[in-house]
């Protein structure tokens, strides 16, 4: 078919439509009686059906068609929306996303969707879901992308044949569930070791999650597999348990017949499990798309541009900025009126140009936020909580580089809020709060920064508990503890080696905790703050730079050389009398606001050729920090603060000590950027 040229458009639009369906479904779940939402979902599904039929993706259009029937029935009030119906619809959506992803990767988008189609049919006919018992067993396609779950390992026909063959040969077929210990750091390695053990004993027929998913660490702490072996279960168990960090191994015989019947009972459970297992994967596929809100806002026509071209444009532009500086200087010297006017115009235009180029690299934070509603929905179901999540400011734009990094910390914080923040419904009622918890995810611009807030109305931070725990874990001493402000106490939960969750749960708190979040955000040049009122709720507030390619620095001189120190790591600058410098352990230190801060002479560190030897009476010191530690960098003079474009030193000089990159100054010279983290031990 001569449709290749339309394929990109098709994929983009399909993703857009799927996102509309996704948003709509989540909306609908909150407000089942609002049939206008159904209309919207229906329209999107209908468009998708039409497009996929035109493009010849029959499975895609068939499934959409079935969904459409159900939606139509809902619209005509033949079916009432309940959580079963929602589950099946979301399940279907997931299939559609997978198919679209398959097409995007050059596949045919065909997939066996019999189970979900059966369920859709059943709903459409108004049957209860439990009556789908007559449906045939779920059959996976070759790519193993369809239904598979922890509760019920399902096998496709091919696997079934293999298993039956094995049984008739007198082999044992086991269903093995391996749980890794919660604090296991190298999960992939452990999985690999377990597999190696098993492969020596027999043949692994199937694993859930799939081997690929396991290799990508896309699982919690346990995984299931079906093994054909001649060995006995006790033997096997002992072998697997020899792999370290394996917490538990459950081996039971795998019964094909039993599987078939239990399959049906578990259909609903499976749906949940499936949507629990794979939310992030499927959402990633939708990540790169503009969403409908944005589309509505701008009604925009877009083209895709390779980010490298944008970088090249940026480079050229920087070059021009440098020349602009020279032009301005020359016109100043010549004092020619026409020339001056023209140069001023050029300066203005290039200023506008700079803004446009910078904003071209910006993408709405929506890309990251999109996946959260579904994630929260699944978490709340797992935990038996009831949480309403709202998102504000999803259209807030951030540089792509920041967007790529911010996802994981947010996931961590949201999981934390759902797990530890918001209480169980009964508990909330006892406290006189509404049973449904509220979470707000909010992004907004302010100055040169973007703020992201995660607010919940849960139990808040118990300061006493935090303090006791911090003292117990040696994060602070009891002397220090008494002098801490409320805010400082709250921030203790971000300290490394701290975790208040008394019991470790699957959702969050597997020991590493929030310190990882903090360090990730700090590595992006951002910061994180916590406000909390005990019993009322907690707000995490993250401040992020708009872009990573342009940073604010303090320019300093050391002899004749100019260096740039990132403002994000600077606490303060100070001029200190030589006589105020003290010695401790043969090192020079200063008393900086009650802290003993070691001095680092950059002239020595950077081996700057020095003309003069005499001691100066005053030291210019830049006090920098890395986490809680500080150091005073001794320089010759401060030039001032400036926004600079961060550049790498290139492959050839990739690993220079205490230099994190370089930048080009207004006069065309290169200044090196000091990596103060490397200077603090």
């Amino acid at each position: 078919m001569e449709s290749n040229q339309y394929l990109d458009v098709f994929i983009d639009e399909s993703k857009e439509n799927l996102q509309v369906v996704n948003d709509g479904l989540l909306e609908l779940e909150k407000d089942p009686s609002n049939l206008s939402i159904v209309d919207e979902i229906f329209r999107a599904a209908h468009t998708l059906k039409g497009m996929s039929a035109t493009m010849g993706y029959e499975d895609l259009s068939d499934l959409t068609h079935k969904m459409e029937n159900v939606l139509d029935a809902i619209r005509n009030e033949k079916i009432t929306v309940n959580s079963n119906v929602m589950d099946v619809l979301l399940d279907s959506l997931e299939y559609l996303e997978k198919m679209t992803a398959d097409i995007a990767e050059g596949g045919t988008g065909s997939m066996n969707v019999e189970s979900v189609v059966t369920q859709l049919n059943a709903i459409e006919k108004g049957e209860e879901l439990s009556q789908t018992g007559t449906s045939p067993a779920v059959i996976d396609d070759e790519s193993e992308t369809s239904t598979s779950s922890v509760e019920g390992l399902t096998v496709d026909q091919f696997e079934r044949t293999v298993l039956e063959q094995a049984k008739t040969d007198g082999q044992n077929v086991y269903h093995i569930t391996v749980s890794l210990s919660e604090d296991c750091l190298l999960k992939v390695a452990r999985v690999y070791m377990v597999f190696e053990v098993l492969e020596q004993s027999g043949e692994v027929i199937k694993s859930v999650p799939t081997v690929d998913a396991l290799e990508n660490e896309e699982f919690e702490n346990h995984f299931d597999l079906i093994l054909v072996t001649s060995e006995q279960d006790e033997e096997l168990k002992a072998k697997i348990m020899k792999v370290s960090e394996v917490r538990e191994v459950i081996i039971k015989p795998f019964e094909l017949e039993a599987e078939q019947s239990s399959d049906d009972k578990q259909t609903t459970e499976e749906n949940q499990a499936v949507s629990n297992e794979q939310p992030e994967i499927s959402n990633d596929q939708t990540n790169d798309q503009p969403t409908d809100q944005q589309k509505k806002a701008a009604g925009n026509k877009t083209i895709r541009v390779n980010i490298e071209r944008l970088d090249a444009l940026m480079n050229l532009f920087e070059e021009m900025v440098i020349d602009r500086g020279r032009l301005e200087q020359i016109s100043e010297e010549l004092n020619h009126n026409d020339l001056k006017g023209t140069v001023e115009r050029i300066s203005r235009i290039s200023g506008d140009l700079q803004n446009i180029i910078l904003t071209m690299r910006m993408v709405p934070i929506e890309q990251v936020f999109n996946r959260f509603p579904r994630m929260v929905r699944q978490l709340t179901r797992e935990l038996g909580k009831d949480i309403n999540m709202e998102i504000e400011g999803a259209e807030t734009e951030l540089d792509r580089t920041v967007i790529d990094e911010i996802g994981d910390p947010l996931v961590h914080l949201i999981r934390n809020a759902v797990d530890h923040g918001v209480e169980m419904p009964e508990e909330r009622k006892q406290k006189g709060k509404p049973a449904q918890g509220n979470m707000l995810l909010k992004a907004f611009h302010s100055g040169n920064h973007v703020f992201v807030e995660i607010r919940d109305d849960g139990q808040g931070i118990n300061k006493e508990k935090v303090l006791n725990k911090a003292i117990e874990n040696g994060v602070v001493s009891s002397d220090q503890a008494s002098s801490l402000t409320d805010k400082q106490i709250n921030e203790l939960i971000l300290a490394s080696g701290f975790s208040t969750a008394q019991e470790i749960s699957d959702i969050s708190g597997r020991g590493v905790g929030l310190d990882v979040v903090k360090s990730t955000i700090e590595s992006l040049g951002g910061s994180i703050e916590i406000e909390s009122e005990y019993g009322k709720g907690t707000t995490f507030s993250i401040q992020l730079p708009l872009t990573l390619s342009i940073i604010s620095v303090m320019l300093v001189m050391i002899e004749e050389e100019t260096y740039a120190i990132p403002l994000s790591s600077i606490i303060e600058t100070a001029v200190i009398k030589h006589t105020d410098v003290m010695k401790a352990h043969n090192k020079e230190v200063i008393d900086f606001r009650g802290h003993i801060v070691p001095l680092v002479d950059l002239r020595q560190v950077f081996e700057v050729p020095s003309a003069k030897d005499e001691e100066e009476t005053y030291y210019s010191v830049v006090v920098v920090r890395k986490g809680d530690q500080m150091a005073g960098l001794v320089v010759d003079s401060f030039i001032g603060q400036q926004e600079i474009v961060l550049k790498s030193l290139g492959d050839y000089l990739s690993n220079v000590f205490a230099i994190s990159g370089a930048t080009i100054l207004g006069n065309g010279e290169v200044a090196l950027i000091v990596d103060s983290n490397a200077l603090i031990k």
Binding site: E318, K647, L653, V656, I664, V670
Partner: protein, 154 residues
């Protein structure tokens, strides 16, 4: 190196009293020397980095690299920007002003000893119109050992 065996255009530059050639396809541009920023703790022959039309480019001093005595910069001092394995590197030479065709048959294998330069760096020698051109093996000049040396500094 296969391109030695063909009629090659090479850029000729001077270092001390000798003339060297590098294949023109490796040469990005020839620049006047300006504003090199020293990089602390880099190897001695790395003069620093330079802003080359918005790209930070490392600059090495070929005299230092070949163990020749260093001299003050003159009017004719140039930086030749070369591209090897996706890396852009500038080399400081005494002068660069010529492009020469090197016919395949004029290239001879490198003699055992040529000045102070380690023979590893040399692909061959071409004698053209009474001029002796030393053809450099760029990969060796900027060899990986040097990169390693650079990256292990701390």
């Amino acid at each position: 190196m296969s391109e030695v065996m063909q009629d090659d255009k090479v850029i000729v530059f001077k270092l001390k009293d000798e003339e060297y050639g590098i294949p023109i396809e490796h040469v990005g541009s020839i620049e006047r020397i300006f504003n090199i920023t020293r990089v602390p703790r880099a190897p001695k022959f790395v003069k620093g980095v330079m802003n080359l039309r918005g790209v930070i480019t490392p600059i090495i001093d070929l005299r230092e690299r070949f163990g020749l005595e260093t001299v003050e910069q003159t009017e004719s001092t140039r930086i030749i920007i070369i591209h090897v394995d996706d890396k852009s590197i500038g080399v400081i030479v005494d002068a660069a002003n010529d492009v020469v065709d090197v016919p395949q048959e004029k290239v001879e294998p490198s003699p055992e000893v040529v000045g102070a330069v380690n023979a590893d760096y040399i692909r061959g020698v071409a004698k053209i119109d009474q001029r002796l051109l030393i053809l450099l093996n760029l990969e060796k000049v900027l060899s990986e050992e040097e990169f390693d040396e650079l990256s292990t500094i701390d």
